[in-house]
């Protein structure tokens, strides 16, 4: 079964973070078992890990399921399709989530993004795939429509 990524897990850093957290979680559970804690002491988990577990219906108390999740996360770290998106300003979580929802629905459910900052684009985004760059910025929009700009200027003149 393929791993389902929650909306909150958007970037490669989030993926690495949740992978590391899950591994630490398993180590701490293992240590508690070895200490014969009763009941077993489960460490606190982040919202991202909780969302990932919920999305994939994984019981974090199940060691086998956790290990499977860890393997899937490692595999995803290696081959998850990545998009680099440059924004004119630092994007809010809401914007990122909306974009992630659309991208995972329309492009690839495993997709993750890297966020960049490029103030000169003013508005819109610049999307970079492994082999191509899609400029959806206002600058590009203006460049494509420069004939209309010229007509507007000529009318003004």
């Amino acid at each position: 079964m393929e791993l389902k990524l929650p909306v909150i897990l958007a970037s490669r850093q989030d993926l690495a973070h949740v992978h590391r957290e899950l591994r630490v979680f398993l180590d701490m559970v293992m240590q508690s078992v070895m200490r014969h804690d009763n009941p077993i002491q489960y460490p606190g988990i982040s919202t991202t890990l909780r969302a990932l577990a919920t999305e994939n219906q994984v019981d974090l108390r199940d060691e086998t399921a956790c290990n499977e999740l860890l393997v899937k996360l490692e595999k995803l770290k290696d081959d998850a399709p990545t998009l680099h998106i440059s924004f004119p300003i630092d994007p809010s979580a809401e914007v990122i989530q909306k974009l992630i929802v659309w991208l995972r629905k329309e492009i690839d459910p495993r997709i993750i993004i890297q966020v960049g900052l490029q103030p000169t684009i003013a508005a819109g985004i610049v999307l970079r795939t492994p082999n191509h760059q899609f400029d959806f910025s206002l600058r590009q929009h203006l460049y494509k429509n420069r004939a209309k700009l010229r007509e507007a200027l000529e009318v003004k003149a």
């Binding site: 081959d79 991208l103 899609f134 420069r146």
Partner: protein, 207 residues
């Protein structure tokens, strides 16, 4: 007494001596035939007479007469010479005036002619220069207009090429930190939708 007067007096004395000797020679001729004694007698008498006639007083008188005569001649000649000199000077002045006038008139006429020629040449030269300048002006004007048109076209072309950047720059300066990405999402999703297939293909080929 001047040296010239002395020379004149000496010359007169020499003339008188010669006249005397000639007279003596003529007187002696008839007695040649009478013999040497007769001749000697006459010669002695003549010498004595000459000595008696041309004594110091007579010589002084002759000398004075010669001096006066010489002074008279010198005065007359000086007067004539002065008259001649005045006349010559007057004529020379007239001649010089005429010559100078003639030469000056010739020179002035030549000068006027030269001036006239130079003026004509200068006018021709100025006219040609003006024509050349006018031609150059027209050529330069044309070049300037062409360059201005080219520069204008280049600026317009440059402006049009960079118009998007310029407008973008002003929009960026105008909106500054007021950029709200959430209101741009529709616009972004529209572009994403338009390029969805290309993105999918690129991701598949890249992974």
């Amino acid at each position: 007494m001047t040296g010239g007067q002395i020379a004149i007096v000496a010359g007169l004395l020499a003339v008188a001596t010669a006249v005397f000797l000639i007279a003596l020679f003529r007187l002696r001729k008839p007695v040649e035939n009478t013999g040497n004694n007769m001749e000697k007698t006459l010669t002695d008498a003549a010498e004595k007479d000459a000595e008696r006639i041309f004594n110091d007083e007579f010589r002084e008188e002759l000398r004075n007469r010669g001096r006066l005569h010489f002074e008279k001649i010198i005065g007359e000649n000086a007067m004539f010479l002065q008259q001649d000199l005045r006349l010559t000077t007057s004529q020379l002045n007239d001649y010089m005036k005429e010559e100078i006038k003639r030469v000056l008139q010739e020179e002035f006429s030549k000068y006027e002619e030269s001036i006239s020629n130079a003026k004509d040449l200068a006018l021709d030269s100025i006219q040609k220069t003006q024509e050349v300048i006018e031609q150059q002006r027209l050529v330069l004007e044309k070049q300037l207009n062409d360059q201005a048109a080219t520069e204008k076209a280049r600026l317009i072309d440059h402006f049009e090429k960079n118009m998007a950047d310029i407008v973008n720059h002003y929009i960026l300066a105008a909106i500054g930190n007021e950029i709200d990405l959430s209101v741009q999402l529709d616009y972004i999703f529209q572009y994403l939708e338009e390029n969805k297939q290309a993105i999918i293909e690129d991701i598949r080929s890249g992974t």
